[in-house]
């Protein structure tokens, strides 16, 4: 049976993998797993539900990979799937997302533990503030923090650049206010 699964693996592996367009799934997880994890974290605070959401995103990415075309970057493609899956996941939770604490994901062998602690605290505040933003604004802020260009974000969200600029300026103002209150 295991052999059958291996054979199926060869058949069901994304077509692009065979001609070198799309890296293998393991590589995608290694490269973009942290992005998926951060997106899941910014939408779901409950650790058990977050684990569930992360797995759902991995599954969605795996299933969608054969439809990936190189007209956008793989990172954009994955971020779009992760955001959409996270939003539908949140919508399906028939309750408000709790604000339980996130695990720290800071390098344990950081040469400067004091700086590491400051970063961890800042990151926690940033994450908590991001989670409190309304979804349309949260989506934009997460993509900016993930380092996407404004053109990429406008394309992902299918909105005009000026609409993106306005939404982003509102999101930044709201985020700034929350961070200042938290500090």
């Amino acid at each position: 049976m295991a052999r059958a699964v291996e054979q199926l693996e060869a058949i069901t592996e994304p077509a692009g993998t065979l001609n070198g367009e799309t890296p293998p799934f393991e590589r995608i997880v290694a490269d973009h797993g942290p992005l998926i994890s951060r997106i899941a974290m910014s939408y779901e605070a409950d650790p058990a539900l977050r684990e569930d959401l992360t797995q759902q995103i991995f599954l969605a990415v795996w299933q969608a990979l054969p439809s990936f075309r190189a007209d956008a970057s793989l990172k954009t493609f994955i971020a779009r799937i992760a955001q959409n899956r996270a939003i539908s996941f949140v919508a399906r939770q028939v309750r408000l997302p709790p604000t339980a604490e996130m695990p720290e994901l800071i390098e344990s062998d950081d040469p400067d533990p004091e700086q590491s602690a400051i970063d961890a605290s800042e990151r926690r505040m940033l994450l908590e503030a991001t989670r409190r933003l309304p979804l349309p604004q949260r989506e934009v802020i997460i993509l900016v923090l993930e380092g996407f260009s404004y053109a990429e974000i406008a394309d992902m969200l299918d909105i005009a650049p000026n609409a993106l600029a306005l939404r982003l300026s509102r999101a930044k103002a709201a985020l700034k206010k929350m961070l200042e209150q938290a500090a």
Partner: protein, 205 residues
């Protein structure tokens, strides 16, 4: 006072996860992929087994009625496969599209689920009653069996209690599903409105 520079905050945001966390992510992704592959394999094998069994039955008894039933079973199997493939493709399209497109599709799907659940709630009790009526009226042997069974007081009580429990459980389950689906629909609509509100407020005056 926090230094509000999005580039700097981005660096804080994108801090490298520790190796244990990364390893956990890899294991998790691998488990997900393995489960998905098994599900695909089981799906294919189950369809092949059903098709082979139907084919064997038809070949071992090539009469008009077995051909008809066998043909219908194969058609149903094909229909199920096509439908599940279409659903998967729809879901993928909604995941790779914009958020608003995804929300629109989710709303349509949830509305369909709500409609189906309401229909089941209205239809399942009459369907059970109709089933019993059918058994009594059409099939003499079954009616005989049922009459015999219901002539024993304890069996009659057990049957009535069993049916009542089943109907109650199904009603509770369906009402629960309807409530959950309705809440989910409200939430999806509110979300879509929030996105539309953002778009509208972006429009120049």
């Amino acid at each position: 006072m926090i230094d509000f520079d999005l580039d700097r905050l981005g660096d804080v945001w994108r801090q490298r996860p520790d190796p244990a966390e990364l390893e956990h992510l890899k294991r998790s992704a691998d488990a997900v992929r393995r489960r998905a592959r098994w599900a695909q394999l089981i799906d294919i094998v189950a369809a092949l087994v059903v098709a082979a069994v139907v084919l064997l039955l038809v070949l071992s008894n090539p009469k008009a009625d077995t051909l008809l039933v066998g043909g219908a079973a194969i058609l149903m199997l094909l229909g199920t496969q096509v439908r599940s493939r279409r659903l998967r493709q729809e879901e993928l399209r909604s995941l790779t599209g914009s958020t608003e497109q995804m929300l629109d599709q989710s709303i349509s799907r949830t509305q369909a689920t709500l409609k189906r659940s309401r229909l089941h709630l209205l239809g399942f009790a009459p369907a059970i009653a109709l089933g019993f009526l059918f058994a009594y009226v059409v099939d003499d042997r079954a009616a005989g069996g049922l009459r015999q069974l219901t002539s024993v007081p304890m069996a009659r009580i057990a049957m009535v209690v069993g049916v009542a429990l089943f109907v109650t459980a199904m009603t509770v389950y369906l009402i629960g599903t309807i409530r959950t689906t309705r809440r989910e629909l409200e939430r999806l609509i509110a979300l879509r409105e929030a996105y539309r509100g953002e778009q509208d407020s972006n429009m120049p005056e």
